[in-house]
Symmetry: C2
Subunit: 314 residues, 2 copies
Amino acid sequence: MSGEATVAVLGGAGFLGSHLTEALLARGRAVRVFDRPSVDRRNLAGLRGDWHFLGGDLVNEEDLRRVVDGAGTVYHLVSTTIPATSNRNPVYDVESNLVSTLKLLELSRAAGVERVVFVSSGGTVYGPPETLPIPEDHPTRPQVSYGVVKLAIENYLGLYHRLHGLAATIVRLANPYGPRQDPAGAQGAAAVFLGRVARGEPIEIWGDGSVVRDYVYVADAVAGILAAAAGAPFGIYNIGSGRGVSLRELLEAIARVAGRRPEVRYSPGRPFDVPENVLDIARARADLDWEPEVGLEDGLARTWAWLAAGEGDA
Amino acid sequence: MSGEATVAVLGGAGFLGSHLTEALLARGRAVRVFDRPSVDRRNLAGLRGDWHFLGGDLVNEEDLRRVVDGAGTVYHLVSTTIPATSNRNPVYDVESNLVSTLKLLELSRAAGVERVVFVSSGGTVYGPPETLPIPEDHPTRPQVSYGVVKLAIENYLGLYHRLHGLAATIVRLANPYGPRQDPAGAQGAAAVFLGRVARGEPIEIWGDGSVVRDYVYVADAVAGILAAAAGAPFGIYNIGSGRGVSLRELLEAIARVAGRRPEVRYSPGRPFDVPENVLDIARARADLDWEPEVGLEDGLARTWAWLAAGEGDA
């Protein structure tokens, strides 16, 4: 029966959400795609299968009531903030993300939802790494409001699991990239850099290019999320590529994929950027029978092809 | 100059807050005692020195504006919830404690407050101990909303320190006990048990009496808070007795102090009670030149004397 229940994807029209929705549909699931009524729906254009769009807002409790009603699993991919700017207004971050998610959890419990899958942030919940790659039991010392809120939500998911038996899956995601990522967006170095190369514009980077991140191709990220969601009733999993890539290496790979050298401009480093963040994905490998399969150049090439096809144009 | 600035104590009319206020006054500080307008002010009755009462509510931003205005140091001892019941309404916990404290931090920064001292919870931020006693760098896996909120506030204090230079002192306090603790209250086993013995009533305990806690005498707790507040611009310190005491041992000590054996009734254990919680106070000892000085029986005897003098009567 639970195998037949509708699946809700909060943020389903977004970059990651639309890929997740597509993968769920490919598995024969009925998907309720929840996103803002005004959202650009081009990511949903090619979807085949049993899905419908439900417009609403995370901060509107009535909308949340509709999104969980009759849902078996709720995937929560929404954030009203991004790491780089979340410190500007922590009250807004807490009220719009944490409080809304608490209401979502309470409504989910009351509606009989079986599982909530929360996409957390492998890049911000740990803070400065004491070991690399970073395992799930690493200390959590978030340096930005975005990470403080993600961590608090994780803790409340644990609480709802213990108190109410709600299955809860927490995915601490590295930096996903791939087709449909906004090349003009505020997040996502890979797509933004590729977009600038495609338009013949210079690439601006913060710091000297030594900052190391963990870039995971979106199909691998989605496969990891789905594997985690099929796993234990409670679990926290790092999902990343397992490999650290510096901005300089990323730029080299982009140059090879695009067949041209981007012009690069360097700006001062940002204080909240930890020098290196790479996730240890051993737990997911061992427990979920999951493995990232798309290497960096392959993933960049697919993203480049999508951009070249003009589908990233506004 | 900072040595002369007014000190604000949020929750200053309470058990711990009134002792802290008294100690600050004894050091010659001017103290603004902030508490609810309707609060029972008997704890303030004997205070000598330069203090005044400011009535207000943590959830009222205008009240917070008045409390931080001109203050050099702000001691934040208020919680609208208690561990045992905080899970009943996490949204209320977050909105009243976390959001209000974020507003307090923002107002403190804007008003030029030098330091915020936050009394956090050594009993709930760590969750199930992996090592005993528990050092400050132990994993933080709170099992109750109260602890999730305290931890999020701690993280935001770190953020305000790094971003805005606000000095921030976090005291993860064990279970304080002593005179002025409400013997009819919902918290504080030592005072509640002593109160029941004094009234000839049976003592009810959850579980089999094996639960171990860290009871710190209030004067030691206050000395630790003040030492931490005079320390580094940012610090997290466990403040406790450094010694674990089971409920059974506590009852034995109470029997000796009171000169009579209490009648004990056992109820089923509560799922959120971790079996053992004892704080490692090595960091505070080393960095703050602080040491707990009042042993359990001595502290219980002082509390008993206060009760016997009738000052704990409603």
